[in-house]
Each structure stands twice: as C-alpha cells, then as structure tokens.
C-alpha cells in the first residue's frame, strides 16, 4: 500500500519549520505595529480614568483646532451602531453618557505625528461626574443591586439585571446528593492577562469607494469586519480586512479594540491612519481572563468513587459582555473535570461589574474550574487516605461515560492513561550543590541566598479536559480556497487562500504541509489572510488545525479530484473512471499515476490547459444548546492533558521555583511535532505563570500594574524544560485525526504547580496566583490571610 502511505518530505506529520521563522528570529518580520505608508496620520485614544463616571460633556473643540490635528472622534461621530460586541453588542464604540470601567475609550484623535496626537488628547475636556463603582460581583448580582447598564439597551440578551448569564446545571438522579466522604472549600482566581508581546495595532486606509482597507492584528477577520461595518454604517463589502503580523493573541485579540476607532478617524480625515497601543494601553484595551470565586463540594464513597460534585462559580465579567456568556458555559460544563460523576449540581453566573471587561483567554473558562476541581481532588485523596494519582485514575472519565451535560464522552478520551503516564515518568534528581554553586536553581535564584536545608520539594498532579471548537449549537465553519497552477518557472505549485489568522500557532506551516500532502507538489504559496475569501472562524478554541486545516484539505482534495477527472477525460478513460478517478489514478511526487491503466502524466503537463481551483467549507458535527437544566450535547470534542509539577519552596520566604514539568497530552494525529512542542510548552508556561506570578491587580476597578515591570511573566529561568509525552489516538471525525492542542495544557499546568506547592508546604491553597506571603508563617497577630484591597478574602476562609 505504498500509494496511500506516501507522504512528501514536508507533508503532514513532518517537523517542518515555520516559513516565517527566520524573519521573526532575525527581526525583519513586519508586525502590524510596523506597518507604515507615506502621509499616514498617527492616532491615539483617550480613556476614562474613572471606573465609573457619568459623562456630562465632552469638549473636543480645542483639540480639533490644534495645528497638525486631522480628526477627533467621539461617540457623537459614530454613524452606525453605537455599540459592538462578540456575542451581544453592548460595548459602546466610545463611552457616551457613562464610562463603565477605567480605561474605557472616550475619544480618539489622528494627527500628523504621535506627539501632536498626545497633545490633542490632553486638550480634550471631559466633564466627568465620578460614581461609586461596583467591583464586587456578589454585590452586583444581588437582586436589589442597581443596574450598571440600561436594561432596555440589550433587552432579552442577558439573564437579568447585572447577570450576563446564569446556568443551573443539574445532572443525575440526585444532583444535591452528598456522599460519605466530603471536602468543600472556596477558591479565588485572580485576573490573568494574555500579555501578548506585540501590542494592538492597525493601519487603516480610506478607499475610493467610501470604504476602508484595514490591516490589523486580530484573531478573526470576518467577525471584526461584521462589527466594524455595523458601527461605520457601511455594507460589509466596503470594509476590507487583511491580517497584519500578529505577535501573540491568546484570546486577547478576539474582541475588537482599536479597529473601529482607526476606521472612523481615517474616514473623517480622508487619510491613512496608524493606530497603535503602547504596553499600558494594551493592558487596559483588551478583555482579560475572568477572575473567579468558586465554591466546590466533592463527595465520594469510602472506596474513593465520586458520588457527586456541587459547585457555585461566579465569574467577574467586568463592564461589558465580550464572550462572558460562552466562557460561563465552559466553566459550568467543565466544573466536574475529567471524572465520572453520577450526580452534579453546578451553578454559575457571569456578572457585570465596573472592573475591566473579561472575555477570551487560552482555556476560555476552563482553567479556573480546573484549578478548583483539582485542588478538591487532592484534598479528597487526603480525606480518603488515597494516593492522588490513584484517585484520579479510578474516577477518570472514559468514552461513553456521561458528562454532567448528560452527553456521552466522545472517543478517544485517554484521561486515565494520561495521569498514569505522567506519574510513571522519572522524577528529577535531588539538587546537586556542586552543579549550582551560586544557587541559581534555588527558589529566588542568585539573589535570595536560599538555605538548601530550608528548601522543601513537592510533587503535584493535575488532570483536565478542554472542549475543542465552539459549543452549544454554534456552527463555526471554516472556508478555504486552493488552486493548482504552473508557477512562473513552469513548475506546478499549489496556492492556498484562507482567512485563518496566524497568531503564532503555526497555521501557515500546516497549511503548506496539507497542500503538499494532498496535491503532491513541493511549492505552496499561501495568500495573505484577508476578507477576500470566506470566514475561517476564530483562531481560538483549539479549532484552526481541525477547522481551517479541514477546509484546506477539502479544497485541495477537490482540486485533485477535478484534475484527475480532467486527465481521465483527456486520456479517454471509461466514464466510471472519470466519475471516480481516484479508483485508478493518484497524485504523487508531481505526477499523476495509474498503474492499472498505464497512466503516468507529469503534473506540469496536466496543468498546461489551465489551473484548477476549488473552495471548501468545513463544518464540525452539530452540537446542541444547553437546556434549562444545563443538559445537552453541547461540545464537539475534548482534549485531555495531565501535568506533573515538581517545585522547590523556600520555607522561610515562601518563594517557589518550578523544578520540573511533565505533560502527557491527548493530541490526536500529530501534524507537525515541532509546532506541537511549541504549543504545549507555551501552554505550560502560561499556566505556570498564573500559578505563581501573573495577576492584573485592580483596586476599586483601577488596574495598578499595567506594565511588564508590575505584571511579571515567567522568564526562561522560571520555566523548566518540559518532559512531554504525546498520546496520539486519531480523532475520528477530524481531518487526519487531529485535535487542537494549545489550550488543554494551560488548564492543567496551574493546578499541578499548586498541588506541588501544597505538598511542599503542607497548606491548602485557596488563591491563585499564590503569593509568597501565603506560604510562610508571619509574625503572630498579623496573620497572613488579609488579601489587601480588592476583596479577595473568601467568605468562609
């Protein structure tokens, strides 16, 4: 069967290098912020300094009169819909009557240079009447709470009052049942930011037809276009988007930020506009990961079989809806984790407050609950006197088991295999002082001078699942076009056009691998991602390799079919062969071969009469919305991951160093082992960051650390090399059997690190990220539980 197993060297399964890798490494890759055209204007955004304020008036006349200022726009200048949003359009393009979070855009200006634009911002007078912000979601969701948004503005779109969505999932014969062995506690998750390295940027050029051409760094060109066109009052075909170079996204570019502002300014000024954020604006400008307060009660039989899980999950959605409703759906349906749970009562609410808006971030509502259910599983293991790995393996969900939504878990689901695999990997050797004379590998590094005798090692485990693709009935299809043609050198080449946003995940690499595999050519030209082709859907939800990969494959297969039919016709083969040419003909190594019929035609010859085009739209299987009890076949598929973390903790200072991370992950077919490694290493690092350092801190709704000096990300010194095992059962309904891989490890890295810290210090941890102050005994009388401003003290601690 050599024909069917034939793969070109750079086809599916090969460790192909990124085509944009050399440019990115050498600094020549053009990110969206690097784009420039002669005569372009520079735009800046004016933001509310108040978490909540009535806007009594805006006077931009002085700013507009400044020499060098080309345009000033406010809410009054929005010709179309005044609001936008990913799911519900509740977010004003500019705050009009009320600013609802600190950092909300109020106006934007375009000027001949950035300094003039900044001066113009300073000349805009906004008459604010500060109002008391509501920053505690429990207060905001109280029945008598004052509505933070006009109730008629988005009537019927939200559950009620300040609640974006509420789900009360009941599963099993007795959702509120409590088994004989019970653990129960409350967990608090801080606000993580995507912290992508290239801040938001766009270049907007007004078109001769009254439309706009926008080049921007985004995750979903067509969703941006839909929202931009609605606010500009333009038909969608007059709003053309091209993907600019994207320097990381992680969900933070799924929402529109500066695109509409830039387009309004370009249309008002009649000139190209560059609009870009600096680091602080980036921290204020896009939605973050939802902070969460979660109560869990797990109960089991004395043998260690889970009886029931009850949970109450409150997500702080901040001032505008963004994707809060979908995020909550994930949080609630994943709250019991990758375990067989006969009974569950899982309540969740996503709440409007005057905190910064929260929305999509890698994991999309799942990392929060994974932290909770995994902390609970460790404590349940303690209560049962059972090994934490054994408890997880014993209860691990298997294909066919019912999820809390009532739907059967689809295959493959190697959850048990994964946790057993990581547990069997070798542990790191004890620290060797001779190999590290300066203590760089001790907690706190060189500077902390840790006493090795006061450093304790801990090992922790976490198991999790993450849904793949959009859920709850959403048909997030993806379209791509492919063409087989002769290049200028007369050699056959493939041309692929997709609107899939390359945000670093590697679609540009795998699209080429797929085209080479299906069309048997070496050269593949990937057209720029733009709105000139159908939507690819969002680069999120672990979906693009499956969805846009499927679209590229479908388009390439259609091209190959047409070409083979053309050859069959030309050779005068019988009609049944022309109808189903693959029965005797195949495309391989730049040739069309059919040994049974004695055919061997070079591809170049077959293409001489012209190129062949095809377009294909890939759909995943349909899912269902959740019913009133949170029941329904809501998720397309799942990926599972298991992490083991080994940490060293300085017992006197509470400093943590992660010594080793081990990951076993359910990856489906591996399209590109290098890209896979990049994704799982990055996901692990981002989860580690949430465990021990990453937190966007707000005080009364104001972000206090919107810089990389104040918001610390893990460095190479903080993230150990990853010991990774890929488990590769093909996903039956996916192209090549692939699974998305980027999100699952983000969810499990955090709880594994927490479990390891807990094992080292012998304390239950209820706050993420863990602070050193939580891990040491502070002087008597001062405690160590006061979480300071921001009200992170859980009610029952």
């Amino acid at each position: 069967m050599t024909d069917s197993s034939w793969r070109p060297a750079a086809g599916v399964g090969a460790a192909v290098l990124r085509p944009d890798g050399p440019a990115k490494v050498s600094g020549t890759f053009p990110f969206a912020g690097d784009l420039a055209v002669p005569g372009m204007l520079h735009a800046r955004t004016l933001r509310s300094p108040h978490a909540r304020a009535r806007i009594r008036g805006i006077d931009a006349s002085a700013a507009a009169r400044l020499p060098g200022v080309a345009a000033v726009v406010t809410a009054a200048d929005v010709p179309g819909l005044a609001t936008y949003g990913l799911i519900v359009a509740d977010q004003p393009v500019f705050a009009a009557e009320e600013a609802r979070y600190a950092g909300e855009p109020v106006a934007a200006v375009a000027a001949v240079d950035a300094a003039t634009a900044r001066r113009a911002l300073a000349a805009i007078r906004v008459d604010y009447e500060p109002l008391p912000p509501v920053t505690d979601p429990e207060l905001a969701m109280a029945p008598d709470a004052e509505p933070l948004y006009p109730p008629d503005g988005v009537h019927g779109q939200f559950s009620h009052g300040n609640i974006y969505r509420e789900i009360d999932l009941r599963h099993g014969d007795d959702p509120d049942r409590v088994g004989p062995v019970v653990v129960e506690d409350t967990y608090v998750i801080g606000m993580q930011d995507q912290a992508f390295l290239a801040p938001e940027a766009a270049l907007v050029v007004p078109g001769a037809d009254g439309g706009v051409d926008i080049t921007t760094a985004t995750q979903w060109l067509h969703s941006d276009r839909e929202q931009i066109a609605a606010c500009l009052g333009l038909p969608e075909e007059k709003v053309r988007l091209t993907l600019g170079g994207v320097g990381g996204a992680f969900g933070g570019r799924e929402d529109v930020t500066l695109q509409i502002h830039g387009a309004l300014l370009a249309l008002a000024a009649g000139a190209p506009v560059r609009i870009a954020y600096d680091r602080t604006e980036s921290f204020l400008g896009h939605p973050h990961r939802h902070p969460a307060r979660m109560w869990f009660r797990h109960s089991a039989t004395r043998d260690g079989d889970l009886v029931a899980v009850q949970a109450r999950i409150i997500l702080d959605g901040g001032a505008y809806a963004s994707s809060s409703q979908a995020v909550l759906g994930n949080s609630v349906t994943h709250a019991a984790g990758p375990y067989r749970v006969p009974n569950a009562h899982l309540y969740g609410a996503a709440v409007r407050t005057n905190n910064p808006p929260c929305g999509a971030m890698r994991g999309f509502g799942v990392p929060q609950v994974t932290i909770g259910h995994e902390a609970q599983m460790d404590r349940l293991a303690d209560a049962l006197g059972m090994d934490p790995v054994e408890l997880r393996a014993r209860n691990a969900i298997a294909p066919g088991d019912r999820l809390p939504t009532g739907a059967p878990m689809p295959a493959p689901m190697p959850a048990r295999e994964l946790i057993e695999l990581v547990a069997a990997r070798p542990l790191p050797p004890p620290r060797d002082p001779a190999a590290d004379p300066h203590g760089l590998a001790l907690p706190g590094g060189r500077g902390a001078g840790a006493d090795p005798a006061r450093v304790r090692r801990g090992v922790g485990y976490a198991l999790g699942i993450k849904n793949l693709m959009f859920s709850e009935g959403f048909d997030d299809d993806a379209t791509a076009r492919a063409r087989l043609e002769l290049g200028p050198d007369g050699r056959p080449r493939a041309w692929v056009h997709s609107a899939c946003a390359e945000v670093g995940q590697g679609f540009v690499t795998i699209a080429g691998q797929i085209a080479r595999t299906e069309l048997g050519v070496e050269e593949v030209v990937l057209a720029p991602a733009d709105t000139g082709v159908g939507s690819a859907g969002s680069t999120s939800a672990s979906r693009q390799t499956w969805m846009s990969g499927g679209a590229v494959r479908g388009a390439c297969v259609a091209v190959a079919d047409r070409l083979l039919a053309r050859v069959a016709r030309r050779l005068g083969l019988p009609a049944p062969v022309i109808e189903a040419p693959r029965r005797v003909l195949s495309l391989r190594c730049g040739e069309i071969v059919g040994p049974e019929v004695g055919v061997r035609v070079p591809l170049a010859e077959a293409l001489a009469e012209g190129p062949i085009d095809a377009e294909y739209t890939h759909h995943h299987r349909r899912t269902e919305p959740l019913d009133a009890d949170g029941q329904g076949d809501a998720h397309v598929a799942f990926a599972a991951a298991a992490h083991r973390a080994v940490v060293d903790v300085d017992l006197d200072l509470g400093l943590v160093r992660v010594v080793q991370m081990t990951l076993a992950q359910d990856c489906g077919t591996v399209v590109n082992p290098l890209a896979l490694t990049g994704q799982v290493e990055g996901g692990t690092a981002q989860g580690l960051g949430l465990a021990v350092m990453e937190e966007l801190v707000t005080v009364d709704g104001i972000v206090t650390n919107p810089t990389f000096h104040g918001y610390l990300l893990p460095t190479a010194a903080d993230v150990p090399a990853l010991d990774f095992v890929a488990v590769t059962y093909p996903q039956p309904d996916a192209p090549y059997g692939v699974k998305g891989v980027g999100e699952a490890p983000t969810g499990t890295a955090t709880p594994a690190v927490l479990a390891a810290i807990r094992a080292a210090v012998g304390r239950d941890l209820r706050f993420v990220p863990v602070r050193p102050a939580d891990l040491v005994d502070l002087a008597a009388g001062t405690g160590g539980v006061d979480r300071g401003p921001g009200g992170r003290e859980p009610a029952d601690a």
Partner: protein, 298 residues
C-alpha cells in the same frame, strides 16, 4: 511624551555637562533605563537632555588606599566583574536583565532614587559618599543626605566613593520571579574587619534605604570580626537574632512604603529579617583574610 522635542546636548567633559545642566529644566541622560520609559509613558519632556555618554571622566573606576571611587557612568555590567568591590559586584549581578545591566549606571541609580533600588541599599550599608558637581562647584554628600535632599537642579552625580572592602560583603534581594525582577525587599551587610564595624541596610521597606543600627551594633558587639569572626553562642543564633532586630526595625520604620496586593507589609518585614539573617550567616562563614577583599554572597 508631552511638550516640544527637547534639545539634546552631548558634552565631552564634566565642566561642559554641569554648565548645560544649569539651564532650567535640563535632564541628564546616561543609560536611559529610567528616563526613556518615563518619556514613552507620557512624562513631561524636559527642555534639554544632556547625554553623558561622551564624558569619559565619568566612566573611571579607581582603587585608593582608603577608598574606592566609581564614576557615575560606570554600568552594572562593568561593576559585576570588578574584583576590588565584591559587594558592588554582587549587587550589579542582581540588577534587572542583562540588557538593563549593559545600559544602567551607578549615577542613574542615584539620580532616579527608586526606593527599592538595589544599589542604593548597598551604598547605604557601605557608608558611601556621593560626589556631586554643579556650576557652583563640587560637593560631597552621604547617600542618606543625598536621597533626603533630592537632587538639586543643576547637580550632576559624578561618582560614588566608598571604603575598600575589608571583610565580607553580602547583598540579597527577592522579587516576583527567578531572574530579571525589581526588588521587593533587599538587604546589604558590609563588614569591616579592621574597625570591627558592621553596616547593614534594607530596601523596599521605606521610601529610602533603611539603616538598621540596632542590628549593626548587635553584630559588631557579638562578633570579634578581627579574629576570624569569633562569636559567642552559635552562628545560627547570632544570625537569627540579627534578623529579628532587622525585622523589628523594619516594622517600626517611618515612611513605610504602602502595601501591595502581592506583598503585604507584614511579609516584607518578615522577609528582610530572613534575608538579613542569611546575609550575616554568609558573612560569618566567610574565610577571614583581612588583607584581602572578600566577596561572598550573591
């Protein structure tokens, strides 16, 4: 950036530099690790920026019989390998990232006067003097005087002067991650075996480095530093008591920095005590060779 573009001057001598700095609203620029981000973040632009890169006399390091002199434009990277000043070298190795160490300077640390600045904590413990020059002429101030008085308009920090290393010198700091982090708290201990004097200071507690005199006196009286650091009781007990005194001083410090979400004041006071105890223990464990500078620690 706000305001008109500043005029950039590039003097070649200290004399030219101080004349240029005498004009209203002129800022000196060395490594730019503080000034450039501040301007990018929208700080008001000065009318003039005086770049010190060409002033070669600011880049000298000198070893005298009774003092070390470090020019204001010496970078952390240069200090990190400078054997006559093991304590300064230890501090320099802990500052920021490699890129910051390549650009940041001694004079910049003093001029920016970040209350958590690593170098300031060490210079305070080491009884360093700040050499300044203005159009009115040179003057000398202790680090505390300099920080309390603020940099006067027209003043240029030209160098710091500190006693030569005559015993162990240790600097420890902690922050939010393993490397390339701003200090949350820091502690410097400088022992002079000839005089028996112990200097100790902590950073990150108050709005300026805090001298911990009670702890200094304890360490000087409990230990005979001239005789291989002989002490009454166990080294562990001496170090622990030293740390307790430092923690107590931190708790009572005036002008405390406000609590942060990740670093309550209690924790900071506790942590400087731990760092101080470790630093003294490191000093006690150092080999006694009074004629040789001894650099231990980070």
């Amino acid at each position: 950036m706000k305001g008109a573009p500043p005029v950039l001057y590039r003097p070649g001598t200290v004399g030219e530099a101080v004349r240029l700095l005498a004009q209203p609203d002129a800022e000196p620029l060395a490594g730019g690790t503080d000034l450039v981000p501040a301007l990018r973040a929208g700080a008001p632009r000065p009318r003039a920026i005086v770049s010190l890169r060409r002033v070669l006399e600011l880049r000298v390091r000198g070893v005298g019989a009774d003092a070390l002199t470090v020019g204001a434009a010496v970078t952390y990277t240069e200090l990190a390998e400078w054997s006559p000043a093991p304590g300064l070298a230890a501090v320099a190795r802990c500052v920021g990232s490699l890129q910051v160490r390549n650009a940041g300077t001694v004079g910049g640390a003093l001029g920016s006067a970040n209350p958590r600045g690593d170098l300031l904590t060490f210079l305070t413990a080491a009884d360093a003097q700040v050499l300044l020059c203005s159009a009115r002429g040179p003057r000398v101030a202790s680090v505390a005087e300099f920080l309390a008085g603020g940099r006067r308009r027209g003043d240029l920090v030209t160098a710091v002067r500190l006693p030569p290393a005559r015993g162990p010198q240790v600097f420890f700091k902690i922050g939010g991650r393993q490397a390339a982090y701003p200090a949350l708290v820091s502690c410097a201990v400088v022992v002079d075996r000839l005089t028996g004097r112990v200097g100790a200071a902590v950073g990150g507690i108050a709005t300026a480095p805090l001298r911990v005199t009670a702890a200094e006196e304890f360490a000087a009286s409990e230990v005979d530093w001239s005789a291989r650091g002989a002490f009454r009781g166990s080294a562990q007990a001496v170090a622990r008591r030293f740390g307790e005194l430092v923690s107590a001083a931190a708790r009572q410090a005036p002008a405390q920095l406000p609590a942060g979400q990740r670093d309550p004041v209690d924790y900071r006071c506790h942590a400087v005590g731990v760092l101080a105890a470790r630093a003294l223990a490191r000093c006690l464990a150092a080999p006694a060779q009074p004629s040789m500078p001894v650099g231990v620690g980070a």
